[in-house]
């Protein structure tokens, strides 16, 4: 068995137990709030960071893990922040807003991914008619990742056993050969998976699986979180 290829962290917490649809509502509200929240005055952004902190606590997400996972974003937004020091006040404020908003959105997204299984998230988004096709595609990609990951590991091990001290040229050739072989194998496998789908009745559309109703309390918490985020951002921006 190959381990998870996602950011989900198995843990017992209130946020882990919460219905994924409620979490999506909370995230959408939070992201919209982060986008409209001003960075001057600072209290709306601080409120949003506080709400994010609540997510960390109730999801039992280690802050260091979150910091590590948002490090790439910090590096990405750090450069404009640095460059803006040589620009005018407008540029500095814009870069600062860009950095704050990016970090808020990225961290909220990471909290969601850390506390929710990818399959559950895709299942929830797949129930929205607009996203049904893309979610189905994403579900097949996730399944494909886990199938191909096994082949990648086996291919890499076979290659590493035969070329334990490979130089750069050998590495390039190894990676190229493995990639081409994976593409070929993926194509052949898709043929068989396609046949499996048709043999079980696929007629061009994926049947919708039965869904349990989300608990009212979960939905209420998700909506409340979203409203609170939007209220903080809205008041900060328009007053």
């Amino acid at each position: 068995m190959i381990g998870h290829f996602d950011l989900y962290m198995r843990r017992e917490s209130a946020l882990h137990r919460m219905d994924e649809r409620a979490k999506i509502i909370a995230l959408v509200g939070f992201v919209l709030a982060a986008l409209i929240a001003p960075t001057r005055p600072v209290w709306p952004a601080c409120t949003l960071f506080g709400l994010l902190g609540l997510g960390l606590v109730f999801g039992r997400v280690p802050p260091l893990l979150l910091a590590r996972r948002t490090l790439l974003v910090a590096l990405f937004v750090g450069l404009p922040l640095l460059v803006s020091r040589w620009g005018g006040e407008d540029a500095r404020l814009a870069a600062e807003a860009f950095a704050v908003k990016s970090l808020l959105v990225a961290a909220a997204f990471m909290v969601l991914m850390t506390t929710t299984r990818t399959v559950d998230l895709l299942d929830a988004t797949g129930r929205l008619p607009l996203l049904r096709g893309l979610s189905a595609l994403a579900q097949f990609i996730v399944r494909g990742v886990n199938v191909l990951l096994g082949e990648v590991v086996r291919t890499y091990r076979a290659w590493a056993l035969r070329a334990p001290r490979a130089n750069l040229q050998l590495r390039v050739r190894g990676l190229a050969a493995a990639s081409v072989s994976l593409v070929g194998r993926a194509a052949a496998r898709s043929d068989r998976i396609g046949a499996a789908m048709v043999l079980r009745g696929f007629d061009g559309s994926l049947p919708q699986a039965p869904a349990r109703s989300p608990a009212a309390a979960h939905l209420a918490i998700g909506v409340a979180f979203a409203m609170l985020s939007l209220a903080a951002a809205g008041i900060g921006r328009w007053t």
């Binding site: 996602d6 990609i141 399944r143 199938v147 593409v183 194509a187």
Partner: protein, 186 residues
Amino acid sequence: MVARKRGKDALWQARELSLAGLLGALGLLLPVGFHALGWGGKIFLPMHLPIVAAGFVLGPATAAGLGLVVPLLSLALTGMPPLPLAPLMSVELMVKAGVASLLYRVLRLPIWIALPVALVADWVVLALAVLLAAGFLNIKAGALAYVAAVIVAGLPGTALQLAAVPAAVAAIERRLPRLALKRGKQ
């Protein structure tokens, strides 16, 4: 796209969906492999390789959908590419794969025309998206320089795509001979 209902083509649609899933999976795994070897994703553009190849073996809607989904899914599963970059890449790959499919599978142009046109379409969309985002964030200075830097840094990746994508498409069409027959019937 995925939910088209045409009974007699169900086998083809099932194969297209599963092939899209596996090529999308490669789009997620290749960058991880490149990073493990210490090779920069912005230089070799590993995610682009299978998605562009998908443009040549899938219908335009599925190919464009795949381009849209893969960077966002990669962000969700691996945290890369980082958030401000992932939506930009989504738009880029959606256009690139969609254009490739439209030219190769629908208009039946040869790959040596369709591939360079798809690459140029990607650059145009990248420039437009960056200018739009810069305007939105009020950081106009340096936006075009950023686009130029991204394109120049990604030239090895572009060369890799020009070399590897036709080979990958040929490999897939060899494994799935019915695919070649499907060209022009999307």
